[in-house]
Symmetry: D2
Subunit: 338 residues, 4 copies
């Protein structure tokens, strides 16, 4: 960490900071420039240090981190890409994985029918929500355990592994009895109680970026799970909140290559939430593949007009099958397969 003293900071101020750093057990590296004194803290486990406690000291103008605040999630920790195996489906390897299915599980028939359709189109993981985080308490909240059971039946019927959301520490055990991957939604990315509990499970975690989460925060949230002992974490870009209202969210395409550079964890892209408009899902899915995503999550509903949630951003099975075909040459163009 680097501490920049104010112009004209007194000798006693500088000494105060130096003394405090040394009390904490770190070594100091002092540079007296013409205009300002700069204090470097050397040999430090910087991710363990607090900037704020120095910023409040007399004579300090600002502090700057030299190193990233995460460790296990960083590319420095593992130069090799992490590949997560889910019942034989490898996420993070050369083949781009497609997870598809409805926003909510609405009935046994509906989810089994959809599972067959997306499998026929080439998807290899089935998604579907049983516990739904809805902004209104008056909206459909998901079928709960029945939804989980229907998902498991769809898995049996098709052989597709399943992914579904867990919203609370209370539900981890129940959801874990059914799901192959735990999904953490964008409103829970910084629900640290949930993240800590998921650090203790033995199943992969699919971690969505917060609604206005920073890339660094996403990696810090992954760090919570990783530091708990669960190394099977995938990171999902799902659009961020910006001032632009023409689309529901702004899909942050930059995040894909940047996350691949900063971290060894697999990166998934969710163009449905990233746009909120079904007619943009196709172009953005192609863009995500071209930019290097490891997987896609795509909402597919047999009859979007009658969907109980997120119909506006769901594809019909026909449109999904067409998109899968269009994605193949794009994947090939960047040396991948889909």
């Amino acid at each position: 960490m680097i501490i920049v003293m104010k112009q004209g900071a007194e000798r006693a101020d500088v000494e105060g900071v130096v003394k405090r750093v040394e009390e904490l057990g770190y070594k100091v590296h002092l540079s007296r420039g013409e205009a300002r004194t700069i204090i470097g803290i050397i040999g430090a486990d910087e991710h363990l240090m607090s900037q704020g406690s120095f910023e409040v000291m007399d004579g300090v103008e600002k502090t700057m981190r030299v190193m990233q605040p995460y460790k296990l999630a960083s590319r420095d920790f593992s130069h090799e890409d992490t590949v997560i195996d889910v019942r034989g489906v490898a996420i993070g390897g050369p083949k781009i994985v497609v997870m598809a299915g409805p926003c909510s599980v609405e009935s046994r028939e509906m989810i089994i029918e959809t599972a067959h359709m997306i499998k026929a189109a080439g998807a290899t993981i089935l998604r579907g929500g049983a516990f739904k985080p809805r902004s209104s308490p008056y909206s459909f909240q998901g079928l709960g355990e029945a939804g989980l059971r229907f998902l498991a039946e769809a898995r049996e019927a098709t052989g597709l592994p399943i992914i579904t959301e867990v919203m609370s520490t209370d539900d981890i055990e129940l959801v874990g009895e059914y799901t192959d991957i735990f999904q953490v939604g964008a409103r829970n990315t910084q629900n640290y109680s949930l993240l800590k509990a998921l650090g203790k499970v033995r199943k992969p975690v699919f971690l969505k970026r917060g609604i206005s989460g920073k890339i660094e925060e996403l990696l810090m949230s992954a760090e919570y799970i990783l530091s708990g002992g669960n190394m099977q974490v995938m990171l999902c870009e799902r659009g961020i909140r910006t001032y632009e209202t023409a689309t529901r969210n702004t899909f942050d395409i930059n995040a894909i290559p940047l996350l691949k550079e900063l971290s060894h964890l697999p990166v998934v892209s969710d163009p449905a939430h990233g746009t909120g408009m079904w007619n943009l899902v196709g172009p953005i899915a192609k863009a995500a593949v071209a930019a290097g995503t490891d997987a896609l999550m795509i909402e597919v509903h047999p009859d979007p007009k009658r969907a109980w949630s997120d119909g506006a951003q769901s594809l019909t099975p026909e449109k999904f099958a067409k998109l899968m075909n269009e994605l193949k040459p794009v994947a090939a163009a960047v040396g991948r397969e889909i």
Copy 2:
């Protein structure tokens, strides 16, 4: 709700939408303009309807809500201000309430000492964190139950009611044994499992606006608690995330008068998180009072340089006492007392 059809939408498209609305049990009001057809849905419990399911229909351009998606939280529901009584302290009444104390409870002595100091300066509620949501898993996570116990001892010593954060449904019972007010932090504003559970408790809830939460979302999150049966909710403006990096957050002063207009619930302002800089806490606290806040939450630490968290935005007890004196004439200037 209003549904705007595309220019040149076909007759069959319009009929399809009308049929769907009628299936759902609502009445239709049709306006055929020169350029477009507009479909109004009448007599509806609009907060129960989904815009997305119409937006996906053939020929539909966009939909617009006429009414607010919340009900119990709205000013229409209660023209009278809700006043919450906490052991004799009235929040939402003519007197502006000041909640003060450290970010984290660090020890028994520290919290009792701070409680005496803030009481002497005029604060009437003691705050302090026992369970701390920290962005890094390597940072201090709070003293847990010991912290709660120390807070209760500080209450006994001073008579000040206490407020502390609850991060998980698992902890509600434990935290509820000690606290007078449940605080929901900015990262949990849309943790719906937690909100639902807090709808069932019999103690007031202090609900922070999300890190980049919309005003409407804050009111919807309040609606979760209210619709669960707990009508004692206060709303807290604590700064929002914007592109501006000169301050930690952007304190949304507009939210104060707007929330008072839209809702009957008390509004609290948190200038420490709203700025992230202790030297801005004073001016922003004054501004919040001038704009009509019902209460202030202010971080006070006996030695901010040695705080285990959020030192950079905490006041010393001396600065806090000085600020309390400066706030008095501002409150008087807008017809309030502090």
Copy 3:
């Protein structure tokens, strides 16, 4: 336009609004719902109407536009894509056009050398700044007219048409003597004096989206030029300002397919400004092509370390040539050529 009256608005309020609408020469369509009265304004040139003047009237809760506020820029105005011809290079047609070159023209030799290099790699338009909008008055401000002369010499030497920025109405005549395309930078997107003046020139205009410009505002700025009589406008996505600080800007990939849907004008993508990091330029350029961009603008500098501006986001000629090769299969995958 639709005007929603407040719950419990008085009869006189409704009549007041109706009267005002009729005074303005429009017809009214009244819907009295159970909860609220809604007033539709029919047959209107809606882009000529002001929402604000109704919002201030007694009893009005809010107003909503039914139609887009732009006309000439909209897809409704021309279902056929606009193709702009620049000395034989067609922008907006099946072939994706690449404009490349340095941020600033630094010398005669440098721009001619770069022009040869980018031409060899497959670019068909040369870019380079002679008048530079710099955030600091102490930074290099461009070579001015000498820069324009050098650009023209590079055009002569290579046959590549040129594009350069115009910052002020004062400079239009001078810049117009040299350039083939007028570039309007992100800080001037809403410089209406400049836009009006460019509506009168007979050369194409390359209009960048504002630093935090909305898609609708970009189209409204285009409307200024189009309504002045110049129909040769191309729209450039160059990243928007968001809260994310890991990249300089957030490239709004959603804007590409959305602009193609809303407008007939050609869409250009600028991945250098959209990311601010040269190592992200390649993946984002590929993503832009996959998402449907008509053209790319890419910063290329013979020696980025010594660039007088924007070195951090410039490619070397070698990296640029490699990228051009990698873009070919991506373009082919979406049915285009590059």
Copy 4:
């Protein structure tokens, strides 16, 4: 400036950076930590240096500025507050100045009538737009020179100095013949051609923060004017663009005390644009005074319902007079007068 090398950067990379810094004429201060090497550039006119040119060098991870990029605008340059005298009205002194008037000058009678009304209520400067930057080319664009003439007549009739917007370098001479203060609007804050030209005039400049301008950018734009020789610049907070749609803009109250700390220039607050809603203008005006603003700009229109622009955020003369009375005790509460 501080340059942080990558973990494992090669000796040659470090030497390359050192050589480059020395070539530029600066001295190097090298710190080799366990994890990384850090290069400090000492004794530098840091505001003259470019971060980007170092960030692109081999082995460099990131660079950090130590000093602010502006100089003449900074508090370091002048510890004393700048007070600007406009025909006897002192802006930046103990008395808070109120500038009021309509968004647009609509007629001779209207502006003179408004001038008398705002003067009676206690305003001391008259505002009114003659050249209007409108987002639509089809909206009223201002009366132009006639508007300037009417403003001058209103000044003669009331003795109030006037302020009006200049949108283009072309108009500076004309506007300067009439106005007492040149206003630069939020869409022109980074119109550097205009700022440079205003650095040469001998009249005060009122500089609005950009629609999503950073505080640092506002100060850099002021630096353009100051470095041109015109030291009479006032800075205006007018709300910033955020994701929040409940209000037109988010008034950044934090900016007021922060600007006062960072700069010696007077700070003006514009609650009408900062909220977009006339019913929020009062509370936000009070908040701005409580937070330390030096002046207020308030839109007043004799009949907002019939305003040609910005009616929704304008006060009637009656409401304005009432607000002026309410502001007096707030100003007194913070030791000012109004």
